[in-house]
Subunit: 288 residues, 2 copies
């Protein structure tokens, strides 16, 4: 596996790959890889539409707020390199901040409106602008035919799909289901922040989501009732500090009032456990 840090070296590899008529699959990550990332790399590796697999590792400062965890976000490039290679990637791109955002950088990509004003968009102003901007940059550098994102970051998936459609990026977005621990906790690099007690408490997110999903299956159609159920369950956990618990339409993220048959909804939660802010979600299709 080739490891590349310079933009110019990546460009040469991409140009040569494209010149051979080979298709590129791309998995953008912030590193400190877990099984969720590796599932994306394996999905790309086994994708019939793809000949070569590129993984990027870049902790993108633009998507962190001033009081967020950019500095302490976990990093381990040597371990990541090994995992990416084992998962079957052809190239690992790990640029520096200086190469990605040189002095004078001034251009941003922003998905406006509903998609970025609810859920994490409300809690983390500027976050999705940072995400859209770095993904646009990476798409222009890697020139992928397909790119792979995890559904754990469901709002990110909706934002990236909107950006790709609106700006006509010639990239097919493919989504992988959330990978979970045996007890249901969604894998996240931020889980490393958790103390053993917080780690146990954090299972409340998935438990709350499953309860709400069961309630929908049992016939509950009032979004307000479901949201209160979600909130109550999470707030009953003493180590959890609720950020949000919401039910929105998928993939438009419009607030739901009464769940309609045949429609799909996103049950989305975010909460702090100590200094770790964790998110999780479930997509629920309402039976007709």
């Amino acid at each position: 596996m080739k490891v590349v840090k310079r933009l110019s070296d990546l460009r040469s590899w991409v140009a040569a790959t494209k010149a051979r008529g080979e298709k590129i699959g791309f998995v953008p990550t912030m590193g400190f890889l877990h099984e969720g990332h590796l599932a994306l790399i394996r999905q790309a590796r086994s994708d019939q539409e793809v000949d070569r697999v590129v993984v990027s590792i870049f902790v993108n400062p633009l998507q962190f707020g001033p009081r967020e965890d950019y500095r302490e976000y976990p990093r381990d490039l040597e371990r990541d390199r090994r995992l990416v290679e084992e998962a079957g990637a052809d190239l690992l791109f790990a640029p520096s901040v200086e190469e990605m955002y040189p002095s004078g950088f001034a251009t941003y990509v922003e998905v406006t409106g509903q998609l970025t004003s609810v859920l994490c968009g409300r809690s983390r102003p500027g976050h999705f602008r940072g995400v859209a901007t770095v993904v646009a940059k990476l798409f222009n550098l890697v020139c992928p035919d397909c790119a792979y994102f995890g559904l754990k970051d469901a709002q990110q998936v909706a934002v990236i799909k909107r950006m790709v459609e609106d700006l006509n990026f010639p990239v097919k977005i493919k989504v992988h289901p959330t990978v979970r621990e045996a007890d249901g906790l969604a894998l996240s690099s931020r889980n490393t922040y958790l103390s053993p007690e917080e780690r146990k408490a954090a299972t409340v997110l998935f438990r709350a989501l499953k309860e709400a999903e069961e309630a929908v299956k049992a016939g509950e159609r009032e979004a307000r009732v479901l949201q209160e159920k979600l909130s109550r369950t999470i707030q009953a956990e003493p180590l959890a500090r609720l950020d949000y618990a919401e039910i929105v339409s998928w993939p438009d993220l419009e607030p739901a009032t009464v769940l309609l048959p045949g429609m799909t909804y996103l049950l989305a939660v975010a909460a702090y456990f100590g200094r770790a802010r964790l998110i999780d979600n479930l997509l629920v299709e309402v039976q007709g």
Copy 2:
């Protein structure tokens, strides 16, 4: 020459062209073509780096303000089609507004800071956001290796170059000098708005710029003196209503105070003649 209106048809042509290993040169325009546009198409046609030439014609609503001339902007696709073909293009892309901005469109590309806050950026809020967004879309659709822009829109050139560098578009930007009438008036589709008297009066823009350039050559280094000279000359023309007359560094567009040897400056003017808002500029390199 192929004429294409649908995004999907363009994508097919681009994919087939790229699959043959051919390089694409691209001239984006708003149509109602004049010799300035044709010079860009001929530049692309004779460019050794390019195999195929694509021209787009799209009056981009996003770059017009609410009180600007989007509706009355001149259009003549049949005449344009003939001119583009004669200039040697391989494909003319003329999409509808509905294809470019379908319902739900929400993503914008914005170059922030100095480049878009001075000159036309001040007079036309949102204009360069509209320009950057549509050019990003067109780049993703046409996938050009080289794109050609006229220096008449000098600030646009600076903004597009910044966007290409910041978002890592794999596109080389090539610039063509301003094409002028015999009496110095810069060619512009908006010149068609001018009455015969306004047409004559409009030559004051180039005359003022040449005077200021002469003053620099004669040793004047005070930006304030040069700007006053520019403004006075334009304001002396009764049919002209001055928008701005400024001297800024090139290509950063920082305000100039004392012109420094070895540096290049943009002398830029904008004025209304009747309902036509016209712009013009000269790049001046200060001798050491």
